[in-house]
Amino acid sequence: MFTMGEDMMKQWANNWEKMMGEHLEKLVHNEKFISEMSKSIAATMTGKAFYSKALDEQMAAMNLPSRTEIIKIMQKLTDIEERLIDLSERFEDFADAQAKPAAKTAPVAEKPAAAAHAPAPAHDSKAKKHKK
């Protein structure tokens, strides 16, 4: 009797899953639904942009830097960091190119085998070990 009840429950759950699955699958693939949902997201984003602008103006009125301005500064710093990385790479390449002819003329025995395959130092000179 109990097994029959359990089987019925399982059958009911399977039918529910199948029905809901088909229904929701159709819904999330429906272009009209996607379009309406996108309009709702667009309205939220427009609202967020308006709110952020109003907040920026309030901060400016109080002579305080706004979040937008701080992010712009951070992005400028990122740009400077990127330029520095590019420059240091160019410098390394230049130094390598200068060192190569000198290495060719140097006696082979003077070049330690281990050093030839030693890894280059990490860019920030702080290679970190990750433990498991």
Binding site: E17, M20, G21, L24, E25, L27, V28, H29, E31, I34, S35, M37, S38, K39, I41, A42, M45, T46, K48, A49, S52, I71, M74, Q75, L77, T78, E81, E82, I85, E89, E92, D96, A116, H117, P119, A120, A122, H123, D124, A127, K128, K129, H130, K131, K132
Partner: protein
């Protein structure tokens, strides 16, 4: 009185933490990636990781390019399923960890990632291992980026494995539909990043019964130790979302999903270089998944103008299943066979 309140709050806090730890169990301390590794280079948010290989392992280094949409360690969630562990036993293995990009990189274009960052990593590997080119494996959008890089720098890539990597976005399935209607201009005007939680929610949204089915599967299998290990590790990975930099996201949606510029051969980097598939020379393996709803099989087709030698293997699994499911070993072995031949 206030002192008593403080100690009571501290006491309750300790109880809550204890309960959470007990409930989370292994998940609480589960590692982000299991293969031992070290960071050998970093630039901003981006790091280059080198996985520890056994003594004497040598050969062309392999650089793994994971997706920007989620964390890299889906390829290294447990010892049993780890692609990275397998690769590291065969050859020097490196991986680009994109980190957790914030709003400070929201203005960087997609080409910053698929060209500049990858080139820096390749340069470091070449300097460290004294080679002139590397092998590459790109997963998901990481595969798209690795492909673009192999078009831009054909001399630096020897073998390329595209693991469920969308290249042709002309018919990119459900995500193409969402991309078509996504209010990208409003997004660009209001946000510097696409929040990771929203991306994660959108992946769940397109599979509405996914959570129910996962819970049902959990109920059926929770007594199996091996299942619980993988389940916990995967939940750990799912609960670790990453924000997508704003401008890069804008370009991903407009240039790739909407305009399909990569396949058309008209995708441009920020400094004006054309990403030309006909320039590519790397021997390529397209390793795709037959039940993939994120990168359906048609999206993994390479452009007709691409004349590089290409082979294909299709694994009967889904987009994530190909890395951690029961067929993951076959997928990994296919990649190893291709890279060693």
């Amino acid at each position: 009185m206030i002192g008593n309140m403080d100690s009571m709050v501290q006491h309750l806090d300790a109880i809550a933490e204890h309960v959470m730890r007990k409930t989370a169990g292994e998940l609480d301390t589960y590692p982000r990636g299991v293969t031992p590794r070290e960071e050998v280079y970093n630039a901003g948010n981006v790091s280059l990781l080198r996985f520890i290989s056994p003594e004497g392992v040598e050969g062309t280094p392999l650089l793994i390019i994971p997706s920007l949409i989620n964390r890299w360690y889906v390829l290294d969630v447990t010892e049993e399923t780890s692609f990275i562990k397998q690769f590291a036993q065969q050859r020097p293995t490196y991986l680009i960890d994109w980190g957790y990009p914030g709003e400070e990189v929201g203005h960087l274009p997609l080409s910053h990632y698929y060209h500049r960052s990858i080139k820096r990593a390749v340069r470091q590997i070449c300097r460290q291992t004294d080679v002139e080119k590397v092998d590459m494996l790109g997963y998901c959008i990481g595969g798209t980026m690795a492909y673009a890089f192999s078009c831009l720098e054909p001399d630096l890539v020897d073998h390329l494995v595209l693991l469920t990597a969308p290249i042709d976005f002309a018919d990119a399935g459900i995500f193409a539909k969402y991309a078509e209607y996504f209010p990208i201009e409003e997004f660009s005007a209001s946000m510097n990043k696409m929040p990771g939680w929203l991306l994660a929610a959108s992946f769940q949204f397109v599979q509405p019964m996914g959570l129910y089915q996962k819970t049902k599967m959990f109920n059926d299998k929770f007594e199996s130790e091996s299942f619980m290990k993988l389940y916990n590790a995967m939940e750990r990975w799912i609960a670790d979302p990453v924000d997508f930099p704003g401008k890069a996201y804008y370009e991903l949606i407009t240039d790739l999903y909407k305009k399909n510029l990569l396949t058309k051969g008209t995708l441009m980097t920020a400094d004006g270089q054309t990403v030309d598939p006909s320039a590519r020379r790397a021997k390529t393996l397209v390793l795709n998944a037959g039940k993939d709803h994120i990168a359906p099989l048609v999206t993994t087709e390479l452009p007709a103008s691409d004349l590089a030698p290409v082979s294909k293997v299709t694994i009967p699994s889904g987009h994530i299943g190909i890395t951690t499911g029961r067929n993951a070993k076959d997928a990994c072995q296919s990649a190893i066979d291709f890279l060693t031949n």
